[in-house]
């Protein structure tokens, strides 16, 4: 894999690696992709199986369900003056 392609993947996946990690993980990934390439030798004319079973298209009624447990959401968050802190835009 070209270095620029590897860097693109890191950017898309929002991952940062040290140079040592980069070298190690890139080598692992190249080996795994090489193995995945063995699929080229397998023929399959089947339709893609997105699930192992047939999942029925069951739809729920479009109803409003009131959510009241606001404290449960706040418990996970860092708060400041009643606002939830997050990264700046």
């Amino acid at each position: 894999m070209e270095d620029h392609e590897f860097e693109r993947l890191l950017k898309v996946a929002r991952l940062k690696l040290t140079d040592v990690e980069k070298e190690r993980i890139k080598a692992d990934i190249e080996e795994v992709i090489g193995y995945f390439d063995s699929l080229d030798q397998v023929e399959s004319g089947e339709e893609p199986a997105y699930h192992p079973i047939r999942v029925p298209a069951r739809l729920r009624k479009d109803e409003v369900v009131e959510f009241t447990d606001i404290d449960a959401l706040k418990r996970q968050a860092k708060l400041h003056d009643g606002y939830i802190l997050g990264p700046k835009l």
């Binding site: 993947l9 929002r14 399959s44 004319g45 699930h51 192992p52 968050a77």
Partner: protein, 453 residues
């Protein structure tokens, strides 16, 4: 039918029984790291309650649920997973604690986490993964069942390495609501126990439709006994010779009740690559939501630029998680999607077709893993690809959503040996019955019996 749960219900419990149980398992946990947290409130549970544990990726209200990841440190779910809710609602079970695992389920040996669980038969050996703690806890506690989860073998492998029964049901039988996703089209909650009877009791409690999981749609479960046992030649080829010899002696024992036949199926030996492609593609999508402030880990670099905030926060993922995120992102790239992802889905369809045909005629039986239990130092030196190859027997039923069970059938150098039996979708009771019959002939051994009466 052997059932420790039923035995427990009949026995009188001495005063202070649960206090003693919690104290003893807490002490042993310092050596084995089976639990990531133990519910001290268990000592106040209703008299007669049977302890159950749940893997650390199954949400339990009020208990830190980390899925073995630093990214989820401090995450305390405000709700119970459906499976947990049903166990508690049964009135028979009380929650003992959450069990250790590979980070997000990414592992065969239980080593991809901060403090790995140790094998219940020898602490220098791997516990197996990813439901490492569930298997160790089951091997330590006499009266207990473990809710665990399998994506590609995470129930079978650790169950086999710790000498317990590991049951993975048909995909879509048990609700995944409250399960921290690894790969949605592969994840299945299942049960570990010391007998197939106990696994069946828990299975019947937790299974069934759930409005919160539309894929949970398999309601009718059968128990159609098969009289043939198939051994797939291509899967056995890379099995270590001592494991092969022990497995042959198991087949000899079973030959009085079953017709044993070797069959050839090239496609089943090709299942590892499509499995990992599907699993990594789905995992990389699922792990996108861990951003350092919505769940668990609270990254405080609020002065960072918007994208840098997430990139810095996500450096807390372990190596294997990073590898799978990068590989999954690559596989989903528009330029190669058809070559890898769509192709893998087409091969999955082929595997399902082939296995359904074979399993209509009989069970597939194999060792659970192709090598003797490795020491931690040995497993830690394997490359990722060598690790993935260990899953050769557990991936076919998992990629196809077929119910399977692993059970102890012998001991080699003091370590348990496990075999796996697979059946048709929705024929789950048949594999539970198979092991129930086996248990009439064979007594499982354990080094610890915490909570015995």
């Amino acid at each position: 039918m052997r059932s420790f749960v039923n035995e427990f219900l009949k026995l009188e419990k001495p005063k202070g029984y649960y206090e003693e149980l919690v104290s003893e398992i807490s002490m042993l946990n310092k050596e084995y790291h089976a639990f990531t947290n133990i519910n001290s409130k268990m000592i106040d549970c209703a008299e007669g309650s049977i302890p159950f544990s749940s893997k650390a990726n199954i949400c339990v209200k009020g208990f830190e649920t980390t899925a073995g990841s630093k990214m989820l440190k401090g995450y305390i779910p405000p709700f119970d997973a459906t499976a947990v809710e049903r166990m508690l609602g049964s009135g028979s079970f009380s929650f003992l604690g959450e069990t250790n695992m590979d980070e997000f389920g990414f592992g065969t040996f239980g080593l991809n986490t901060e403090t790995p669980a140790r094998n219940a038969f020898g602490r220098e050996y791997v516990a197996g993964g990813s439901s490492s703690g569930a298997a160790v806890a089951t091997a330590l506690l006499k009266y207990h069942v473990a809710l665990s989860e399998s994506t590609g073998g995470s129930i079978s492998t650790p169950a086999a390495l710790n000498g317990v029964v590991g049951f993975t049901p048909t995909y879509g039988t048990i609700s995944r609501y409250g399960l921290i996703d690894y790969a949605n089209s592969l994840d299945k909650i299942g049960v570990m126990a010391r007998s197939s009877g106990d696994a069946r009791i828990a299975f019947d409690i937790v299974r069934g439709k759930d409005r919160y999981d539309t894929t949970c749609s398999v309601e009718k479960i059968n128990g159609n006994k098969k009289t043939k046992l198939f051994v797939v030649k291509e899967l056995m080829e890379k099995t270590e010779k001592r494991v092969k010899a022990s497995f042959s002696s198991l087949l000899d024992k079973l030959s009085s009740d079953y017709e044993i036949r070797e069959i050839s199926s090239e496609i089943l030996s090709k299942s590892i690559a499509p499995y990992y492609i599907i699993a990594m593609a789905e995992a990389s999508t699922n792990l996108a939501k861990y951003d350092g402030y919505k769940y668990g880990l609270q990254y405080e670099g609020y002065n960072k630029r918007y994208n840098d905030f997430f990139t810095e926060a996500r450096s807390s993922f372990g190596d294997e998680a990073k590898r799978r995120i990068i590989l999954g992102t690559f596989i989903r790239s528009e330029s190669v999607k058809a070559k890898y992802y769509t192709k893998a889905l087409r091969i999955r369809a082929l595997i399902i077709k082939e296995m359904s045909r074979i399993l209509h005629e009989g069970f597939i039986i194999s060792p659970t893993i192709p090598i003797p239990t490795p020491k931690i130092s040995e497993a830690a030196s394997l490359t990722p690809l060598e690790n993935y190859a260990i899953d050769i027997f557990t991936i076919p039923p998992n990629i196809g959503g077929f119910p399977h069970i692993t059970f102890p059938y012998g001991y080699m150098d003091g370590m348990p040996l496990g075999a796996q039996v697979i059946t048709e979708q929705a024929n789950d009771y048949a594999v539970l019955d198979f092991v129930s019959d086996w248990e009439e002939e064979f007594e499982y051994r354990y080094k610890h019996d915490v909570g015995s009466l």
